[in-house]
């Protein structure tokens, strides 16, 4: 099988994880109106909690459910205890508090688990490869593509089909109006921040068997999530999906063609998109 096809499928898998990262960042931004620099830290925490769960001999599937719930709860607490106190302040303080939170999480991870990377085993059920004729592909990576696609549909339904989703979308247009309609905006804020943290952690759990867990993956993921959001267009669900896939595929293909420059090409792709479409692929102007 052609190596390019293989890398494209790899890219789709990575891209779906990027989508998961970016969509959380995007909805948090859409509603709360600030960039959450702690987003990468939630992803980091997801990967490490997955690692720890495996160390304790817990099932991967249990970790896949429990870890996002735990990190989501942590996000919910962080919103209630920290972020709520800075909403009324200037924008730079919103960023400062999340930068602080990101540092605390990252360094706590180093204190607890050490500065070196750890491998996370692939769940037993998904070890090995799938073979359909000439098509040979690792089972786990196929699972990631399928599972994240399912999650994407689920998230889309949450945003488009539920009461919480309409509150989020309406709140993104005007928080005042939504609160005048009798919806407890702060409750929605907490829920959305928790949801964002949980999706980032989920991406971390899913990524852990592929790339392991190391302390600086959080910052790397934050950078990538920003690129995906910038490429896809701010606050756009479809944009996060298209942007994530594009960036994932570019990175994956380039890692065969020009390994040293693979990360660089991701940013070159971003620059190219921005020159052609300053507001991102699916972004609205203004």
């Amino acid at each position: 099988m052609s190596v390019y096809l293989l890398q494209t499928i790899n890219g789709i898998g990575i891209g779906m994880l990027y989508f998961l990262l970016a969509v959380g960042l995007s909805i948090v931004f859409g509603l709360l109106r600030f960039v959450n620099f702690a987003h990468g830290a939630f992803y980091l925490l997801g990967a490490y909690l997955c690692f720890q769960a495996m160390q304790w001999g817990l099932d991967f599937w249990l970790a896949l459910v429990l870890v996002p719930l735990c990190v989501g709860a942590l996000g919910w607490l962080a919103e209630k205890l920290l972020l709520r106190r800075v909403y009324a302040k200037a924008h730079e303080f919103h960023i400062l508090v999340t930068v602080g939170l990101a540092l605390v999480v990252q360094e706590t991870v180093v204190v607890l688990w050490g500065p070196l990377g750890n491998n996370v085993p692939t769940p037993e059920l998904l070890q090995g490869v799938v073979m359909w004729g000439a098509f040979i592909y690792p089972k786990y990576r196929l699972f990631v593509i399928g599972f994240t696609a399912l999650l994407a549909v689920l998230l889309w339904w949450v945003l488009e089909g539920t009461r919480l989703g309409s509150a989020v979308r309406a709140g993104s247009e005007s928080t005042e109006t939504v609160s005048l309609l009798g919806i407890d905006v702060f409750r929605v804020f907490s829920l959305v921040f928790a949801l964002g943290a949980a999706t980032a952690a989920l991406a971390g759990v899913l990524a852990a068997p592929i790339r392991g867990a190391e302390p600086f993956m959080g910052i790397e993921a934050l950078g990538v999530a920003f690129v995906v959001v910038v490429v896809g267009g701010l606050g756009s669900f479809g944009g996060a999906l298209v942007g994530g896939l594009l960036i994932g595929i570019v990175q994956s293909l380039m890692s065969t063609i020009w390994p040293q420059g693979a990360s660089l090409m991701v940013y070159v792709a971003m620059a190219a998109v921005l020159l052609l479409r300053p507001h991102g692929l699916l972004g609205r102007k203004g």
Partner: protein
């Protein structure tokens, strides 16, 4: 505040640091990051642009001076000038793309550019030394001790402070404030917003490039970490902690951050955890940074009316 007062405070800091600190390098570091933070402050406090890409210009400055001094044996003043130019050219390029956006999209763009620059520096290892950075950046014999170098840095710092002071008090600086406070109205009055923002970017890049160049000469290396996310983060954090809208606030922020980091790092290798907690505490408890704190203390002691908050607050990112 009287015009001269800020400058006198800056002068007092440059004279006071040698009395308070044992290490000339640490004192130089305070002034170098103060320069970088003033560049960031010009964007954040005076123009309302929250740039997460200041590390690009800092890195450009340090790489430029390192390449010119180690490979081309260029005279030091010329190399420093080139670092300033590189910083401002980089800022012109980043600014040209980024200022087309506002608010959060702008913040994300500058951070994405910072990451891009990091990978460019990492990939172009022939020029930048890649992971190892550039080593053995020389200093002229005249500046061979830390305290002599400090005197050199202090002179440049005071010069840059005076120039930036003039810039912020000029009509150009006033126009930037107008843009910060109400971009649409400033545009309606007939100012070319983009041109002003771009020029602010170029000046900011020049100062930050200068800081990067001085830093490379101080440490003798131009490491990849000068181009990293952390450098951008650090410059922004110093600026916000110090307070925006007043140049001296950035000096205060730098002294606070650099000395605190120096002290904390002797306590515990994972001192960044403590710093993170501090940042959370600061953002929850402070309204306007250290400078704001100092100002309210001053007014309380001398029983004057507090200043109008609008004068020191930039609303838009």
């Amino acid at each position: 505040m009287p015009k001269k007062f800020s400058f006198l405070l800056a002068l007092a800091v440059t004279l006071g640091l040698p009395l308070l600190l044992h290490s000339g390098s640490l004192a130089s570091e305070v002034l170098i990051y103060a320069l970088a933070a003033m560049g960031c402050n010009l964007l954040l406090g005076y123009t309302g642009l929250l740039s997460f890409g200041q590390g690009i210009f800092f890195g450009l400055g340090s790489y430029t001076i390192a390449i010119l001094l180690t490979r081309l044996q260029c005279p030091m003043p010329l190399a420093l000038l080139a670092a300033v130019t590189a910083g401002s050219l980089g800022a012109a390029m980043v600014g040209w793309v980024a200022i087309r956006q506002r608010g959060t999209y702008f913040v994300m763009l500058t951070l994405a550019f910072a990451q891009m620059f990091y990978f460019v520096a990492y990939t172009a290892s022939g020029l930048t030394g890649g992971d190892n950075g550039l080593l053995d950046v020389p200093r002229p014999a005249l500046l061979n001790t830390p305290w002599k170098y400090y005197a050199f840095v202090a002179a440049i710092f005071l010069l840059a402070f005076a120039v930036l002071q003039r810039v912020t008090e000029s009509i150009f600086g006033r126009t930037l404030l107008a843009i910060r406070d109400n971009e649409d109205r400033a545009a309606a009055v007939g100012y070319s917003i983009k041109r002003f923002k771009l020029l602010a970017f170029v000046i900011s890049g020049a100062v930050t490039g200068l800081a990067g160049g001085l830093h490379a000469m101080m440490t003798g290396i131009a490491p990849l970490s000068n181009a990293e996310y952390h450098t951008s983060e650090m410059i922004l954090v110093i600026t916000v902690i110090g307070g925006t809208g007043n140049l001296f606030a950035s000096v205060l922020g730098s002294a606070f951050y650099v000395l605190l980091a120096d002290w904390l790092s002797t306590l515990w290798p994972r001192w960044l955890l403590l710093l993170g907690l501090l940042l959370i505490g600061v953002s929850i408890s402070m309204q306007r940074g250290l400078w704001g704190l100092a100002e309210s203390a001053w007014h309380r002691v001398f029983r004057k009316t507090p200043p109008a908050p609008a004068a020191a607050q930039g609303e838009q990112a």
